[in-house]
């Protein structure tokens, strides 16, 4: 009777943040977070700055993140979903459930149309490729990440461009 008659209560509204919390454990990236490895959803209201909101709630629940990156958006069932990647330290919020991150093909469509179906793994893949590029292009991002993190991200840089990085 607990939940058979209605779905669990979730976030609603025209703008929601979808947060993927990632940590490096050893040489593997893991998905974790307040909802375990599942995407963490946060309502963003008119008075909220989504970036500040994600950073603040991440800090409150897991401690200060190493990196908060707004990576993509898409149309959701009730509005716009803003996707974020949050990087936490290896020993940060270690009590939270996690799963290793595998590789995925990106979701694609024509040059002028959004992909018609986007899986969670594809959003995470896109986010990590984006951060991999930033790690080469943005000193602040590079400085926030450990050498081990940068080594893992090198695998997310398209092969023809790897020699251009540091």
């Amino acid at each position: 009777m607990e939940s058979a008659d209605r779905p669990p209560w979730g976030t609603e509204g025209p703008v929601q943040a979808e947060v993927f919390v990632v940590r490096l454990r050893g040489d593997r990236l893991e998905l974790t977070g307040p909802c375990g490895p599942d995407a963490w959803y946060i309502e963003s209201h008119a008075e909220d700055d989504p970036m500040e909101l994600v950073k603040r709630l991440s800090t409150n629940l897991m401690g200060p993140p190493l990196l908060v990156h707004s990576t993509s958006w898409r149309r959701g069932a009730s509005g716009v979903i803003l996707s974020f990647l949050v990087v936490v330290g290896e020993d940060q919020a270690s009590e939270l459930a996690s799963v290793p991150i595998g590789r995925a093909e990106l979701a694609r469509n024509t040059a002028a149309d959004a992909a018609t179906g986007i899986a969670t793994a594809q959003v995470v893949e896109h986010a990590l490729r984006h951060v991999a590029w930033l790690a080469q292009d943005d000193e602040a991002v590079r400085a926030a990440l450990s050498p081990a993190w940068l080594a893992v991200l090198a695998n997310y840089v398209p092969e023809p461009f790897r020699h251009l990085g540091r």
Partner: protein, 56 residues
């Protein structure tokens, strides 16, 4: 937040997987705290109770 059924205990399931239990007055506080701190949701007492079900 015992997992043993108790008279008057209500349950709310959050989509993030968290299950919250308590008497009516306890549950409202627990759910409102979780909703705001984890999801930036400003839940009213009525909204919480409309989602609550007796613990089976």
């Amino acid at each position: 937040m015992s997992k043993q059924p108790r008279d008057g205990v209500l349950v709310v399931h959050c989509a993030c997987g968290v299950v919250m239990r308590g008497t009516e007055s306890e549950l409202v506080v627990i759910v409102q705290k979780h909703a705001l701190e984890s999801h930036n949701m400003k839940a009213t007492r009525e909204e919480v109770l409309s989602r609550a079900r007796p613990e089976s």
